[in-house]
């Protein structure tokens, strides 16, 4: 390796420049969310916050819409001009409830996806299920037709089932969307486990369920983690389904509630402060997943692992 040639200086110079460019938007959002309004909205930007403040996080997390409504009603009920202004200010949105909603949907999707895909993958690999190959093709089919082209009939379906405005509706749709990747991954994982292990367990008289939980799953953990990571990715990052299928304010998802902040006519500096703080709040769970389970993201994209 020509470690000391000038090529390597270029190599690292280019790479570190790119790293700075990639990180910068995230860094800038992070520091913006901690800047005081006077520092945030200024013609002389600072590259680190001189005065730290948590006021935007406080504002978006503890914002109580109803309480705010009552407060403003008693404050300015006389002049109509003020009323309009205060109504605009109310467009600001708390993200605590939406955060919990998104967490419920994501957790639900992860759990349901893992259960459905483990059993499905097991039945289509290890067991002598009739029509195995046909079922596998059927389950893989949604890859060919992305759900986005089915939003109209899906909306109709959820409406008929009474599942619009519910967490369950979103969980079921996300889980169905995860089926191709999930079953594919679990099938590969179970395929690589020697069948003798199962036979030994069967001779000991274990039930099929016991074999899955105590023999097969511990060996299929990489596949399981890939499925989990992608279920999280799909459900936490969803926008269009949450936007169309959920209408009531108490069931809003996090990404949608941020839209209300972005559109909100609340005071200018508060709007950008809240929006950056909200972006960080929405990025945090997924970045934690990424930090610890990075290789499984990569595995899901390529269908196999990229060498280190």
């Amino acid at each position: 390796m020509r470690r000391y040639s000038s090529d390597w200086y270029w190599y690292y110079a280019i790479n570190y420049t790119l790293v700075i460019i990639i990180i910068f938007p995230i860094y800038w959002t992070l520091i913006s969310s901690f800047k005081k309004p006077s520092e945030l909205i200024t013609s002389e930007p600072t590259f680190y916050p001189h005065d730290l403040t948590l006021q935007y996080y406080d504002q978006i997390w503890n914002f109580d819409r109803l309480k705010r409504l009552q407060d403003t009603e008693t404050e300015d009920s006389d002049s109509s001009g003020v009323e309009i202004e205060s109504k605009f200010r109310l467009d600001g949105e708390g993200v605590k409830r939406p955060f919990i909603n998104s967490a419920i949907v994501s957790a639900g999707t992860i759990i349901l996806t893992i259960i459905v895909c483990t059993f499905g993958g097991y039945a289509l690999t290890v067991l002598k299920t009739p029509l195995k190959n046909f079922f596998f093709l059927l389950v893989i089919l949604p890859i060919l037709i992305p759900g986005i082209s089915l939003i109209i009939p899906l909306y109709k379906l959820l409406k008929d089932l009474g599942l619009t405005n519910s967490h369950l509706g979103l969980i079921l749709i996300h889980t169905c969307g995860m089926l191709p990747l999930g079953i594919f991954m679990m099938r590969n994982a179970f395929n690589s486990i020697p069948s003798s292990l199962r036979e030994v367990a069967m001779l000991e008289g274990s039930s099929e369920l016991k074999i899955i939980t105590s023999v097969m799953l511990p060996l299929a953990i990489p596949g399981l983690l890939t499925v989990m990571v992608f279920a999280m990715y799909v459900s936490w990052n969803d926008y269009i389904y949450a936007f169309i299928f959920i209408n009531s304010p108490e069931n809003t998802m996090l990404n949608i509630s941020l839209m209300k902040i972005a559109l909100g006519g609340s005071q200018f500096e508060m709007k950008w402060g809240s929006l950056t703080a909200g972006s960080i709040v929405s990025f945090l769970p997924i970045i934690i997943f990424y930090t610890f389970l990075q290789q499984y993201f990569v595995r899901g994209v390529t269908g196999s692992a990229v060498k280190e």
Partner: protein
């Protein structure tokens, strides 16, 4: 009951949740989207068979052609941007050097952020007067004396602004695909080319790129299929504006279905999007099978 019989039953039982989900939330909507596209859907009462009327209505609608055209322009501009960045970073990360794993994980980082969050983040970076990108652009003399640069003023500048965000956000996925392709190229080829005295660029051009062709095709198809489904980035950043010049096909479908409550034409739009994506994905899968 024989052991085989029992195992078959257990298997069917275990696969049934997946099959039920699939039937209810995929197969039924799939069939229904065709059914809906051939019917008129009044707010009350029963749907009425109208044949191809919904399709005719949709094709005569100027907004459909505008959104189709914009979606194609967006796809054709963002795909090369994504590809160049992805190929560059993939080649950089494939070098046998210290730190490639670290660089790769940083380049992939924006991919895990949702399109929605990335759009909010960049909305702030592009914010009129106080956005940091606007500062930088004005510092380099864009926007003239008055310093009133606004990227959302015209459709073209809006599109390029979104393209920059998408390139930042999404090139990591293609990079990973290209790296997987690069790793599949055997070292012999590079050694042979070195022995023949080829320069680095000659090697990339004559050895790497031709051998990488399947992965390149896969990355391109993925980006094209993704761009045709573009929704969040435009809904959040441009809201289709100015004056509907950045409205994508999916946005048009959502508007048609949920703003104008024309479910029939919206369903027929869905069918059109489905056909476009279906063709692209079939090509993609054929490449995928050749590749891995």
């Amino acid at each position: 009951m024989s052991r085989l019989r029992k195992e078959q039953l257990v298997g069917l039982l275990m696969v049934s949740p997946a099959l039920i989900l699939l039937a209810v939330f995929f197969l039924y909507p799939l069939v229904n989207s065709f059914y809906m596209s051939f019917h008129k859907w009044p707010l009350f009462g029963k749907p009425k068979w109208v044949g191809l009327d919904n399709y005719i209505f949709m094709f005569q609608d100027e907004r459909f052609w505008e959104s189709l055209k914009f979606t194609f322009v967006y796809t054709l501009t963002v795909t090369p941007m994504l590809f160049v960045v992805a190929l560059g970073t993939a080649l950089l990360c494939n070098a046998k050097a210290w730190g490639t794993t670290f660089f790769r994980s940083i380049y992939f980082l924006p991919v895990v952020m949702s399109f929605a969050t990335a759009s909010y983040v960049w909305l702030w970076l592009y914010s009129e007067m106080y956005g940091v990108i606007i500062y930088a652009l004005e510092f380099f003399g864009f926007g003239g004396e008055k310093k009133n640069l606004n990227v959302w003023k015209t459709g073209t500048s809006s599109m390029w602004a979104v393209n920059a965000m998408v390139t930042w956000k999404f090139s990591g996925i293609q990079m990973i695909i290209l790296i997987a392709g690069l790793q599949a190229i055997r070292d012999d080829y590079y050694e042979a080319s070195k022995l023949m005295g080829a320069s680095r660029w000659q090697t990339i051009w004559n050895v790497t790129l031709p051998l990488l062709r399947p992965s390149i095709a896969l990355a391109l198809i993925l980006s094209i299929a993704g761009s045709i489904q573009a929704y969040e980035q435009f809904v959040i950043m441009t809201r289709g504006g100015p004056s509907n010049s950045t409205k994508t096909l999916v946005m048009h479908t959502v508007d048609m279905g949920f703003d104008y409550f024309k479910l029939g034409p919206a369903a027929s739009l869905g069918v059109i999007i489905m056909i476009i994506l279906f063709v692209l994905t079939v090509i993609q899968l054929r490449l995928f099978r050749k590749n891995y």
